[in-house]
């Protein structure tokens, strides 16, 4: 049934992505492909995998953007700032990809808000990918069905896994802890607190999709002048007169040579 469940759903499971700490290593991209190619639904195929024009279906991709601030701060004005930007399905509350589906294959779960595709019902018309402004859906060209992030539904509710592993593959693998998973419908959850504390934002709010996933903007960068004093302080610390123990002994011995 492609009508949306009555809003809001009791739980709003989703991701919070920290643009300040993401280092752009693509580990989440690779682990997502690895887990989901062997998990829920058809495998994520690649076309011409070892050729020059390799391409395939991915449910999570990391883009990199460059901003050139026009501020007054010396060492920042005119200097590019790079932000790595992981992007996957935002599990929107008003998901336009769901309502356009002609077959009922696309749906939003009424209990936790996860947007899924029932692949046995998908005809591969591609209209849902057109309806999504974020590019979260990609057609699997081998299976002819639409693929998308399932929020690792086969991990988060999987009691055969250790509790620590019951998070989406991208979250579990992130070495920078830039990805967080939780219930954004619960104001007391860790992710909701994080969003409140860091001013998490919606992507393309003007599209009216009400995304569940939130992005934490990069923190304000310190101007160089702020750290200049710090540097001086460390430079002056050449006097080791107050060193004790082994370092005190070493200081004395080296002075004698």
């Amino acid at each position: 049934m492609t009508s949306l469940p009555s809003l809001p759903t009791p739980k709003k499971l989703g991701l919070v992505i920290d643009l300040d700490t993401c280092v752009g290593c693509h580990a989440c991209v690779v682990n997502c492909k690895e887990w989901n190619t062997g998990g829920y639904g058809a495998a994520l195929s690649d076309q011409d995998p070892y050729g020059a024009t390799v391409s395939g279906a991915w449910l999570n991709r990391v883009h990199s953007f460059e901003m050139i601030p026009d501020g007054e701060v010396v060492g920042e004005a005119g200097e590019a700032r790079i932000v790595h930007f992981p992007k996957s399905c935002l599990h929107c509350e008003a998901a336009p990809c769901v309502t356009v589906c002609p077959t009922g294959a696309s749906y939003k779960r009424a209990d936790d808000g996860i947007v899924l595709v029932e692949e046995d019902m998908c005809i591969g018309c591609g209209l849902c990918a057109w309806a999504c402004p974020y590019g979260a859906r990609e057609m699997d060209l081998a299976a002819g069905v639409m693929k998308k992030c399932t929020l690792c539904i086969d991990r988060i509710y999987n009691e055969t896994l250790e509790e620590v592993d019951r998070t989406p593959a991208c979250v579990r693998t992130c070495p920078a802890n830039a990805r967080h998973f939780g219930d954004l419908g619960d104001p007391d959850s860790e992710v909701s607190k994080l969003v409140a504390e860091r001013g998490g934002i919606d992507l393309m709010p003007e599209q009216g999709t009400l995304p569940v996933n939130k992005y934490l903007p990069p923190r304000q960068r310190q101007p160089l002048s702020a750290s200049a004093g710090l540097l001086e302080e460390y430079m002056l610390k050449e006097d080791a007169g107050d060193a004790t123990g082994f370092f005190g002994w070493l200081d004395k011995m080296l002075d004698r040579i």
Binding site: S3, T53, V100, C125, A129, W130, A131, Y134, I201
Partner: protein, 307 residues
């Protein structure tokens, strides 16, 4: 948006077919004439060819029947349901005309109305997508409907000329419909060119507070499904040229030819060939217009891909 030939062909052919079916349903052609019998078969053939070519781009066409189930929310589903339902009155009318050589108002008017609704559903598939700003306007269904009516009338003029039954009001009617369709289309395109983008790289990333956002690196070096499907870019120069071709062939030439036909009341082979030329020009112009409809429309996702 990538201008896929299967979809361009589908919307053009089925639009013409439904347009012709509307005019046949209104009883504009005398069923005693051979050309009218051919017209009924032609309308059904155009509609069927259009529908078949639209299933050609499906990943799993064997499940296409499932697309009839979600008419409550999906315009694509509504289009499928209407297209199949419309075959009933159209086939009934065709039977009466071809076999019995008569016109009956009930299947005729019903078929005309349902054809109109089907074209509206097709247009709404595009107009309902907020992610493609160029399409997300009431002018989109208005264009599709008016082009279907204009195309149907141009085809009707040709068929009437073939059976020597062309009347000046019919030719003038076709000119009026063409003028109306292209007037709305010019408005549609002006809106596309004047409106600022709804979404920008800044709103797509939320990083506009730091500075102007520019794509530094794509997620992968090669093209992917999204960039192939939605990343089509047509050069401004070529778009302008193609638009002129579309207007010249789709609007100006058929209007001039139809006015000549209507004013001098040419009959016989001369009249039929002029009408054929008008039809050919219109269809070519419409194909160019449909190509631009896709090629000039920008998808919001391209804000993430530097396009």
């Amino acid at each position: 948006m990538h201008p896929a030939s299967s979809i361009i062909l589908f919307t053009t052919l089925s639009g013409l077919g439904y347009g012709l079916a509307m005019m046949l349903g209104l009883g504009l052609l005398d069923p005693a004439h051979m050309a009218t019998k051919v017209a009924h078969v032609l309308a059904l053939a155009l509609i069927s060819a259009g529908l078949l070519s639209s299933t050609a781009h499906l990943g799993n066409p064997q499940r296409a029947w499932r697309a009839l189930s979600q008419w409550r929310s999906s315009w694509l589903s509504r289009e499928g349901v209407m297209a199949i339902a419309t075959f009933v009155p159209l086939t009934w009318s065709a039977w009466l005309a071809v076999i019995e050589g008569r016109y009956f108002w009930l299947p005729g008017l019903l078929g005309a109305a349902m054809s109109l609704v089907t074209v509206f559903c097709t247009a709404m598939i595009y107009a309902s997508l907020k992610s493609v700003q160029a399409w997300h306007t009431r002018l989109t269904p208005a264009c599709y409907l008016l082009f279907a009516i204009a195309g149907g009338l141009v085809l009707t003029v040709f068929l009437a000329a073939c059976s020597g039954a062309l009347t000046p009001p019919l030719a003038v009617g076709a000119v009026v419909a063409l003028a109306a369709a292209w007037t709305v289309k010019v408005k549609w395109r002006a809106r596309l060119q004047e409106a600022g983008p709804l979404s920008t790289p800044e709103s797509a990333t939320g990083l506009g507070g730091i500075g102007r956002v520019r794509l530094f690196e794509r997620p992968h070096m090669t093209e992917n499904y999204l960039t192939r499907e939605m990343g089509f870019r047509v050069g401004r120069k070529h778009a302008a040229k193609l638009w002129k071709i579309a207007v010249a062939l789709g609007a100006v030439l058929p209007c001039v030819l139809l006015l000549v036909l209507g004013m001098w009341g040419l009959g016989g082979v001369a009249g039929a060939s002029l009408a054929a030329l008008a039809l050919l020009a219109f269809v070519t112009g419409l194909l160019a217009e449909r190509w631009l409809f896709f090629a000039e429309a920008r998808h919001a996702v391209m804000n993430y891909y530097g396009g």
